[in-house]
Amino acid sequence: MQASLFITCYNDTLFPETGRAVVHLLERLGVELDFHPRQTCCGQMHANTGFRAEAFSQAKRFVRLYEKAEAVVIPSTSCVAMIRDQFPGLMQELGNESLRKGFHALLPRVFELSEFLIDKLGVDDVGAYFPHRVTYHASCHGLRGLHVGDRPFRLLRKVRGIELAPLENLDRCCGFGGTFSIKNAEVSSAMLSEKLRDLLATRAEYCTALDNSCLMHLGGAMHREFAPMRTLHLAQILASTETTPMEEFA
């Protein structure tokens, strides 16, 4: 199986350890990976802030870059949601017929990480070992945009040594929302404070998710408050084994 990584701009820059974990994990499962060095961003930040013209150029770049890929794996639910929910409208507006056709041919081959593992590779036991108490935060875009459903739980339940702690109000947003956290920083912080209360009540050591943007928000607050919890992308848990613990690519 061959797959192309779209690591996303913020994972590339701010969370390279997530990308490294994805590589370890998928190569362990026998996937042959390539990383196109011309990739940058999906355009979500621009589109969601109202800068549609700017988002167009990112959308075009993405389609042209991955047109020939066998499968595209993206370890970020909100970027996949951008591609699935907003690209069709952008392509329509752009009016470039060959680009639009290329996009719609590519779309079924675009996978979020947990979708790729469960739907494409057909595995839920990835051979991971992670002896910690973990709670899962359902990112809104994964939950309601992609409908990832129980995929992350199926993957987590097969991790050896893990102790899963259920999170109250799982479907409630953490308040990140991209530039919302800047434009409406106070309301965003109020939402964050409520989410943090639910998270800490789980007494988990780690909070995991399929999207580092929520985790950056939650992790930032945990660090500020010296909270006894850290954030970790699901890929990093799934990449951990007895011989290669998480620290190796942390």
Binding site: D12, T13, E54, N184, A190, L192
Partner: protein
């Protein structure tokens, strides 16, 4: 509470309006509790409907058909309503609607009117216009009564006094009704309201109501409610004036079957509303003999022109989006500067204002999608929010001073950077070096200037790692297995 401004023309922007509310712990507790209770009831009753998704699709289709031929259905409604003894008025602006209603009341020589809860009357600021014309309006919906006596404003479209708890209600009743004997017991409070209102029902001869649905096929008007005060207002007075947005029309009587199932479950978590009133025109010797319908446009027809935004007019005002919204949960409705708060308000108000006002509202959402999931008529609110943000940006970016706006600057720079991989690589390096002065020994950033300070006011930020993913990838041994 009196500083609340619900007029989008002069309300402060959302982030600013939210600030004092975020410090009002009592209000936030009341809103969170009330929305939790309604949501739990709703979830239970939605779960028992096997065909919920089919119902939603049917309702969306009914509304889309109506909006596609809105002119036809409105004229059909007017014809049927007129044929059965009603009078239909057309109001293109709030001013028109106010003048029409005041004139009708003045013709009856009434000095007092009783009102059923109608958000549309708040939308057009009807009460101040009535008072200015020497007509005293009495709200008869319990929540509206609480607000009227408490000199407060609605914060929710189904439960307007959702932000007030029962101790606060007791305090308002004690002060304004002179009932110092009251306790916090809901039954005692309801009984006090009932005693107070009964004299109005029996003594006032003119009523003003809204409408949940207007049936084009028969000319019927529908109002659903929980308290029975509506039934009083609809049957006892001689004159009845219904104020309705033009989007309230539905084609067929049988469409109510779909709509009423969805509305009751979504709005109050009930299988059916305790009171569902339907009437057609005037029936001699029974109920109001002088019946008027005022059809209000106020910007609605301009929304029809946009394919995506048109969905907004499907709304049946159930407030399920408000109850589920994590933003509304923190702020309640007052921060939205309009009677329509929450997600639906965030898309409806700026459109009613044709984006001349309320430009901050499309940004008052984290785009979490919870509103779309619960909407009984499947309004894709996040999609419309994003579209409105693009419209706001397209207007704003023409303004000269935006060159210095840090958000615009950041977005433009990001676009230039992301358009080329080598620029992106350099930006990663520059960013790493640029953030070094702000990065502490532990590798974390605790304080940033300008826009960044909006992040670091409550959150730390990990400094940019020394090696980006692409650098790591390139450094790997190239031999492939």
């Amino acid at each position: 509470m009196s500083q609340v401004v619900l007029n989008p023309r002069n309300a402060p922007p959302f982030p600013q309006a939210a600030l004092p509310i975020l410090r009002d712990t009592q209000l936030r507790k009341n809103v969170a509790h009330a929305t939790d209770v309604i949501q739990a009831k709703r979830a239970l009753l939605v779960a028992e409907k096997q065909d919920w998704q089919e119902l939603r699709a049917a309702a969306a289709a009914i509304k889309d058909e109506t909006l596609q031929h809105l002119d036809k259905y409105l004229i059909e409604f007017q014809e049927r309503c007129t044929a059965t003894g009603g009078t239909v008025h057309w109001a293109s602006s709030p001013g028109d609607a106010r003048r029409i209603i005041v004139k009708i009341v003045q013709e009856t020589k009434a000095k007092e009117v009783i009102k059923i809860k109608t958000m549309t009357s708040a939308e057009i600021d009807l009460n101040p216009a009535l008072i200015a014309a020497g007509i005293r309006p009495f709200e008869t919906d319990l929540a509206e009564l609480i607000l009227q006596l408490g000199d407060d404003e609605p914060s929710h479209i189904v439960a307007p006094a959702l932000h007030v708890n029962r101790s606060q209600v007791r305090e308002i009743f004690a002060r304004r009704m002179g009932r110092h004997d009251l306790t916090d017991d809901p039954q005692a409070l309801t009984a006090a309201a009932r005693t107070y209102l009964r004299t109005k029902f029996l003594g006032v001869d003119t009523a003003i109501c809204g409408a949940n649905f207007l049936v084009a096929e028969t000319g019927a008007v529908t109002i659903v409610e929980s308290e029975g005060n509506g039934r009083m207002c609809l049957t006892l007075p001689r004159t009845l004036i219904a104020l309705a947005g033009i989007e309230k029309v539905i084609p067929k009587f049988r469409d109510l079957e779909v709509m009423l199932q969805l509305l009751a479950r979504s709005a109050t978590g009930e299988r059916m509303n305790p009171y569902s009133s339907l009437w057609t025109g005037v029936t001699p010797g029974d109920g109001p003999q002088n019946f008027h319908v005022v059809l209000l446009d106020n910007g609605r027809s301009s929304i029809l022109a946009h394919h995506t935004e048109r969905q907004t007019l499907r709304c049946i005002r159930c407030a399920a989006c408000q109850n589920t919204c994590p933003v509304y949960r923190q702020t309640g409705g007052h921060a939205y500067g309009s009677v329509y708060g929450g997600p639906i308000g965030a898309i409806l108000t700026p459109q009613l204002m044709q984006l001349e006002h309320a430009q901050s509202l499309p940004y008052a959402s984290s785009l979490c999608g919870a509103c779309y999931e619960v909407c009984p008529v499947k309004i894709n609110i996040p999609e419309i929010l994003i579209d409105l943000r693009a419209q706001v940006t397209d207007r704003e970016r023409k303004q000269m001073f935006r060159i210095f706006d840090p958000m615009y600057l950041a977005m433009r720079v990001a676009n230039v950077v992301l358009a080329s991989p080598w620029r992106f690589r350099w930006a990663q390096r520059l960013g790493r070096v640029g953030l070094l002065p702000f990065t502490r020994k532990d590798g974390w950033i605790h304080s940033l200037p300008s826009l960044g300070s909006r992040w670091t006011m409550t959150r730390d930020l990990r400094g940019i790692p020394n090696q980006s993913f692409r650098q790591w990838w390139r450094s790997r041994p190239t031999v492939k297995r």
